[in-house]
Subunit: 671 residues, 2 copies
């Protein structure tokens, strides 16, 4: 929801190492979807700064080849060199204007440079947030406010909040700075200095508005620190040691950014805006003896986190985290053995700092094989002699990234199953956004003023939602696909001969245009299936993949409310659009203070045809969060997700022939 960085940017490693650059200087061996290398980022910085000396960088990512080029390259041979341009897409600010710059890295030239005149601003970079959050500490009225409260300036930490948009015709590129108190805890989010709002103009980098509306006691530090070193007994019994062992190593291979495991083959990229991008996911069909395409591309296109407090200091907190703060930019180095199991392999990610210098986030991804003790399939057959019981344990492959957007931590897992499923799980943890209150007991609170739960003395956990929109460019066995709504419909039996009065059947409805494919998932009686209408199984079923939603929470805000206009993708759980390279983000390209004129709700008003086309499914996973005391001072993980599951994609169970894993006797292990 909001982000902030201290000036101690120790995790940003400047890349001047000749070792790295020499390794990466040749682009020959690059996969066309590989993220920009540090060398390329350096190249690009030089080129852009030549034409704009005072530029600041806000987004740099791969401007990938057109889909038809990629597909044609794939169809030739999956391992050949890609012959095509290597381009970057840059959003930068110069002279208080947003520039969209396309750079050809092969030719070392700027292909285009245009100014964006529409509503909204680009992603905030980390450095401007850091600078802005330090401005109040030098600002006399702020210092006076702190003194008036009897607080120590040295214990203040401030954080940057985007402002949303509430109908203003003209906007400037401003953010709100809110401040917190340390003084005995590192969990400053639990100690908001309520009532003070500092507005900073990011282009001018100065305070342009300052309000100190009210003094509210700062909640106490006791019990807020979550570090192990700060806990006092009694402790929980420590669980005995437990680990996963793979003596022969993992079963996956990573070749650059291409990952192969069991029957899966896919490409994993890192993007500073959306975080992980899964591309070209194909599954090997042993019957057909070939890889078959499933997912051309999948990533989190936007995240919408509206808080449900309408007071002056809170109403605007309706964040679009991906487009405002960057899920990749906010990704954290994963902690070995805790964030990921011991058998995990880690990958780094690169992004661009304010001045265009490349920076690395180490261990931004982990990849591991997961065995949770689950069963892939089984059957016991007591009806036959010989104790028939066939069981296959379920081992899957997980790609993980953790993005910490300010207080909240999102653990994003893309999980590949041998059975053909792709399961995506978002697990939420981190720190609540809380509001300070003078009250210490629920009885003192007026419901219409609290907007949340008293999670501790003087501490209200404010209600909010998380809506994660997933861009899913499914290419089920080819590009031309259709969305089928399979309605499970009750039939009243008219046949006098049957003792039954009712049964359900399946009525298939093919979504012909975009308006047919706006779906709210709530009754569980409609199956959403993406089919390839041009291919059938041997017995004549449409080849498809089913989207199995894991949550039915949808936005409860009015559709004409400003924040909901911007986060309009949460009006429905499912939308479908015809593939359009320019439609990448369900909330639009520029979301900070946007007017919501570039959202999926607007695009789909054209009601384009989507039947038997190259289509994109946009699925929104939603979680309502009415905080509870267990969320204080740090939240136990809450998980939600969805599954893409083959549905008549294979002729029969694709894991029928998976062999039982070899039993291994472990001897002589010592700890």
């Amino acid at each position: 929801m909001h982000s902030m960085r201290s000036p101690n940017l120790s995790f940003i490693i400047l890349l001047f190492l000749s070792f790295h650059t020499s390794l990466l200087v040749s682009t020959h061996k690059l996969h066309p979807l590989d993220p920009l290398t540090p060398f390329e980022l350096n190249q690009l910085q030089t080129l852009v700064k030549k034409s704009h000396p005072n530029v600041t960088f806000h987004y740099v990512g791969l401007d990938e080849p057109d889909k038809h080029e990629i597909l044609s390259w794939m169809s030739r041979t999956r391992m050949s060199d890609f012959v095509g341009p290597r381009r970057a897409f840059v959003i930068a600010r110069a002279d208080s204007k947003s520039h969209e710059i396309v750079v050809d890295l092969s030719k070392k030239l700027i292909l285009s440079d245009k100014i964006y005149y529409g509503s909204g601003y680009p992603m905030l970079n980390i450095e401007e947030q850091t600078i802005a959050t330090e401005l109040p500490l030098q600002y006399a009225p702020f210092k006076a406010s702190i003194a008036k409260r009897g607080l120590k300036l040295s214990e203040i930490v401030c954080s940057a909040f985007t402002n949303g948009w509430y109908g203003a015709k003209h906007t400037k590129r401003v953010i709100t700075i809110l401040c917190y108190y340390l003084d005995g805890t590192i969990n400053f989010y639990m100690r908001p200095i309520e009532g003070i709002m500092v507005t900073v103009d990011l282009d001018e980098m100065r305070i342009v508005d300052y309000r100190d509306r009210q003094i509210v006691p700062v909640p106490k530090a006791d019990g807020t620190d979550y570090r192990e070193s700060e806990q006092n007994p009694p402790f929980d019994t420590r669980i005995k040691s437990m680990t996963i062992l793979q003596p022969d190593g993992p079963s996956f291979t990573i070749d650059g950014h291409r990952v192969r495991w069991a029957n899966w083959d896919f490409h994993l990229s890192f993007d500073m805006r959306v975080g992980p991008i899964i591309s070209l996911a194909s599954i090997y069909d042993h019957e057909l003896e070939k890889y078959r395409r499933v997912l051309y591309k999948g990533y989190i296109s936007e995240m919408f986190v509206p808080y449900q407090d309408i007071s002056e200091e809170w109403y605007y907190r309706t964040f679009l985290d991906a487009g405002e703060f960057g899920l990749g930019l906010s990704a954290m180095p994963l902690q070995p053995s805790t964030d990921c199991p011991k058998n995990a392999v880690f990958l780094d990610g690169y992004y661009t700092t304010r001045d265009g210098t490349p920076a690395k986030t180490s261990n931004v991804f982990c990849i591991f094989e997961r065995y949770a003790g689950d069963v892939m399939w089984r059957h016991s057959e007591p009806a036959l002699p010989g104790d028939v019981a066939e069981v296959r344990p379920d081992v899957t492959l997980v790609v993980r990234l953790v993005t910490t957007v300010g207080n909240y931590d999102y653990i994003i897992d893309w999980e590949f199953k041998q059975s053909g499923s792709i399961k995506v799980t978002a697990s939420l943890s981190g720190i609540l956004a809380v509001k300070a209150t003078p009250y210490t007991h629920k009885d003192q609170l007026k419901e219409e003023e609290s907007f949340g739960t008293l999670v501790a003395e003087n501490t209200i956990g404010t209600r909010h939602d998380h809506f994660l929109n997933f861009y899913l460019d499914l290419d089920i066995d080819g590009e031309a696909n259709s969305l089928t709504k399979s309605h499970l419909k009750t039939v009243r039996v008219s046949d006098d001969g049957s003792p039954r009065k009712s049964y359900w059947t399946v009525v298939e409805e093919v979504a012909k245009t975009e308006s047919d494919a706006k779906i709210r998932v709530n009754s569980g009686s409609t199956e959403i299936i993406v089919v390839n209408p041009n291919k059938k199984t041997k017995v004549g079923n449409s080849i498809g993949y089913r989207l199995i939603p894991g949550s039915v929470a949808g936005s409860l805000l009015w559709e004409d409310d400003y924040e909901q206009i911007r986060g309009a993708f949460s009006n429905y759980h499912v939308w479908v659009t015809p593939y359009n390279k320019s439609e990448k983000y369900a909330g639009g390209l520029y979301v900070d203070q946007s007017h919501g004129d570039d959202t999926i709700a607007k695009w789909t008003l054209r009601d384009r045809e989507i039947e038997n086309k190259d289509i994109v499914v946009w699925y929104t996973l939603g979680v309502h969060h009415a905080p509870i005391q267990e969320d204080f001072p740090i939240m136990p993980t809450l998980s939600s997700g969805f599954e893409l599951r083959p549905a008549n994609f294979f002729e029969y169970n694709p894991v029928l022939k998976v062999k039982t894993p070899k039993l291994v006797k472990w001897v002589n292990c010592s700890a």
Copy 2:
């Protein structure tokens, strides 16, 4: 959905071992909720057979002490001997009548013996199904039917199906026998001999009706066998070895049937009808330095599996698996290293055969610590110097049972989390119930006659549902609880001062009577919370546990349809009743051919008060299943579940003080 056993009952071990009986002769050390021991079952058999020499046994289970006795025992000291009677409840058939017999095992006498005159019949025992399924093989008209089809009698396997109830005033205790073909496969379920129905009177144990309505080609054996030994290349790449190691052993202890792990303490029992029973689940609160009660008792009270084919041979297949076939009776010995991970500990279960002799199912439960690579909670704090990143991996405890009710395998997991959650997962695998058809391509099928998907040539996977009703006697910090519906309600902002037009708030509604607590979960905007209205946290929140449903599928059948009257619990996802020891099964005590007069839908018509009472929550987890080709010839697991999660039960995050597990370096391991 249906069950059948061959005469090879090799897994039933008759218990005449003096070793066992001497160990178990004393009941002093028994927990009052321990299941009946083999010694007690033998005792009981002798007593019952003395008064009814020709009795057949259909259910034997613990007749547990009244709840107030258990609670008073618990409150005294958790480890003291229970002084109270040890009783068994028996349902037996004698002279074609159902007897309910209560036996006092301490006093070695029958306390009561009454005949049940209501509708419906008791659970089928395994032996009578076995005998009944062999009758057709000796029956001339059946042999003629088989010969007419050109099939080999030696390759026939038959299975017992309950008939449901379709309005008949008078019923006899009959079942339908349907037969299948082996001849080249062990997966006979994929080879139905369609068109033949044999009706067997179980009391008279003879065929009372026989129909051979039509000849349909038996689907071919090719591709149906699921055994590893029968597969041909190409095979999938085998995943490399992977295992879980716990060098210091598990962190749980099992003392008889009492399990203690981390902060949890609960009792696990086995019942031949419902399978696993979790009782007296309490969690240790380190702040209060005491165990606090959560779940007095939890188990699957009934399972409803209606098929959606109204043809003569199929319409009645609307099974109530728990009450008809027994989830415990159908439980399978778990396969080490595949059904459960290598670190699992196994427990046996005992049930009663037709003549009252105790039998054992080895390894009926497994208990293991699960580490799936998940995170319990985490936060990185880039705003502060020092690379703050605290992460706690999530280790949980799983209790598993697999019940194979005929063709279907249900993997039932009760998972305990250190954070206080109890998560229940039902994973469905096994074999589809299919219908033979002359057709080999979808184009030949008429939708109104197929009732399913052509999953292979001549093979229709018939549509059906699975509704699992969970009995959840939650005692949140004491017996007197209330059900709160927390409605997330949109508020239109009338305040001209706020730029917001809407937000959502929480409106709590306490269910006062049973009719208030009939809930269909579909919009995701109502939180279902069981609270203890007599206890508050320090800041004044009601202490509670939230029920988080994992599925929104509800029954699509008309409420006045016969099978739906019997499976009426599936009308709603949630029901609440005041605790009543006699209300154990949502579908009633006698469900085979019952008229649905003892269901939760009938009990709750009294509309009893449920506010601040000892209440029971009945939750139905539902899955619609429209089969797909991937389900052929054996189904990849499909999981669904729900979570009971503390909500203001603790003053703060109960796993805040959980220490990071010790990092263990493994050396010298050899495979």
